[in-house]
């Protein structure tokens, strides 16, 4: 399944992508690369289109202009069949887990395997239990999704995302709303999974400190473009306005605290 002879050093390449929805421009010439075998973080203030970027990479939407290359294939030009074939080499962890609510934990993790292969039941069982063991939830295999805490649901979803050993694992806000312990667990899993399975990871997040611990490369998006990129350490030391504001969580700066409005005094005294 794994592409044995990678032709390019980048698994994902976004080339000069424009995308707008409802008359609003989300991306205006976005260009970024995701190197193979590394953890790449995509950061940026809310509403800069981080999730939209993931939807472009997974082929759920098509750019108005530009190319989205995954494994040297232009996602926006693929037929449905070819896109589904490509997606079989991807795994995605959704913000809320997106577990199928009518199935147990075991069946959720087994779902992609059952759908795409005819493996014997004993093999599926071993495969699923190994992945659940990796995320520490082998004991919970009988539970239903509504019986899981938020952190547990996300770990099950991670087991499901990696059950078919994908090339590319995509994490959408993996830390949002988690307690510190669960966050630590996910962080460690993220690093271990990436290194042990030799896969490429893309993490969308705005938890600057957490992501700095694991990412090999970070991009900061703003205004439809990449405004800064580099190792998390380099970004921390970057003194340019927006990067400094974002990395240090300053309330006001290039991204204004106030939503555009008329003059405050004038409005009060009117």
């Amino acid at each position: 399944m794994l592409n044995s002879s990678p032709t390019t050093p980048n698994l994902v390449e976004i080339r000069d992508v424009y995308y707008s929805v409802g008359g609003r421009d989300i991306f205006k010439g976005l260009t970024l690369n995701v190197p193979r075998g590394k953890i790449t973080a995509i950061m940026g203030p809310s509403g800069t289109g981080k999730t939209t970027l993931l939807r472009l990479i997974t082929g759920q939407i098509r750019p108005t202009r530009g190319q989205v290359l995954v494994d040297d294939q232009d996602v926006s030009k693929l037929s449905r069949r070819a896109l589904y074939a490509l997606r079989q080499r991807m795994g995605m962890l959704f913000q809320n887990g997106a577990l199928l609510t009518d199935m147990s934990v075991f069946e959720n993790v087994a779902f992609p395997v059952r759908e795409h292969t005819d493996l014997p039941e004993s093999l599926i069982r071993n495969l699923v239990l190994t992945k659940l063991q990796a995320v520490g939830l082998r004991g919970a295999y009988k539970l239903m999704p509504h019986e899981l805490s938020g952190g547990m649901a996300r770990r099950v979803a991670l087991a499901r995302a990696m059950v078919r050993d994908p090339h590319l694992l995509i994490y959408d806000e993996p830390f949002a709303g988690l307690d510190p312990i669960s966050m630590g667990v996910i962080l460690r899993l993220l690093r271990n999974v990436n290194d042990a399975l030799a896969i490429t990871s893309i993490v969308v997040s705005h938890d600057v400190d957490e992501i700095a611990q694991v990412a090999d490369l970070s991009y900061i998006l703003a205004g439809g473009k990449v405004v800064a990129s580099g190792t998390p350490k380099a970004l921390k030391e970057d003194q340019s306005g927006l990067v400094r504001q974002f990395m240090n969580g300053l309330p006001d700066g290039p991204v204004p605290f106030h939503y555009p409005a008329d003059d405050y005094f004038k409005e009060l005294l009117a």
């Binding site: 759920q60 079989q88 995605m92 959704f94 913000q95 577990l99 199928l100 609510t101 779902f111 759908e115």
Partner: protein, 253 residues
């Protein structure tokens, strides 16, 4: 005025096109969905078996009311002995298929729409797509098939219980002769009448199930959107059922 009218017409045509396209996508996945009979059987259970109580209760009471009203009306012409045939024809050809479809839309249709809408709202449908599993094959087609198979069966059960209800009031309570009641019914209800009821049940099954899965699938992924989807399911199913009922009756009479 003219502008508004053309816009309305344009919207109607667009909606019709969208739902037809949706139906074609379902139909293209039906053979593959049938390869997993477990999923379809589960949905027949959801749409059919779980609607049994409401269908049977309502069937009984519709039949009993029909017995009372029918008897009262026929008695005025001194022909209360035809109660059996009159009530059976009404149930088999009209009341059975229509009321069963309306109940089905309220019980099973809303459940389908809200379930699929919530799957959309909680990213389950997108997650399936990312796992390269077509939601039409795994979610939409089995639910559609479940409804299509369940409603004709529910219709027949509704009619049978309804006739029992008529008999309960007409024969047991009001004293119509048992033998006359059944023999008149057997004499006047033809196979064609039963076929008409069955065909209506099948057509309403397709219409109501299609509307339910469509509304659920295109629902806005918010609490409000899912609520609106269930409302539209009931309203559109009811309107569609009655329009189709007129059309089928006009063609088949």
């Amino acid at each position: 005025m003219f502008k508004a009218l053309t816009k309305l017409l344009g919207n109607a045509v667009a909606a019709f096109g969208a739902i037809t396209w949706f139906l074609l996508r379902i139909l293209s996945q039906v053979p593959r969905a049938l390869l997993r009979p477990g999923l379809v059987i589960h949905q027949i259970h959801n749409a059919g078996a779980l609607s049994l109580v409401i269908i049977m209760t309502c069937g009984l009471f519709v039949g009993m009311v029909l017995g009372l009203q029918g008897y009262d009306m026929l008695e005025r012409f001194g022909s209360e002995s035809s109660l059996g045939s009159a009530a059976a024809l009404a149930l088999v050809k009209e009341l059975g298929p229509v009321v069963a479809a309306l109940l089905f839309a309220g019980r099973a249709g809303t459940a389908l729409a809200s379930e699929i809408g919530l799957m959309r709202a909680t990213d389950q449908l997108v997650a399936m797509e990312i796992m390269a599993v077509d939601p039409f094959r795994h979610v939409v087609a089995p639910r559609f098939l479940g409804g299509v198979i369940a409603l004709p069966l529910l219709t027949m059960i509704f009619i049978a219980i309804g006739i029992f209800g008529v008999q309960l009031v007409g024969v047991q309570q009001l004293g119509v002769d048992q033998g006359t009641f059944w023999s008149q019914m057997r004499g006047s209800v033809e196979v064609d009448d039963v076929m008409q009821g069955l065909i209506k049940g099948c057509v309403f099954g397709v219409a109501c199930s299609l509307i339910a899965v469509y509304e659920g699938y295109v629902a806005e992924p918010t609490a409000e959107g899912v609520g609106r989807a269930t409302t539209r399911t009931v309203v559109n199913s009811a309107v569609m059922t009655l329009i189709l009922d007129y059309m089928i009756t006009a063609v088949m009479l």
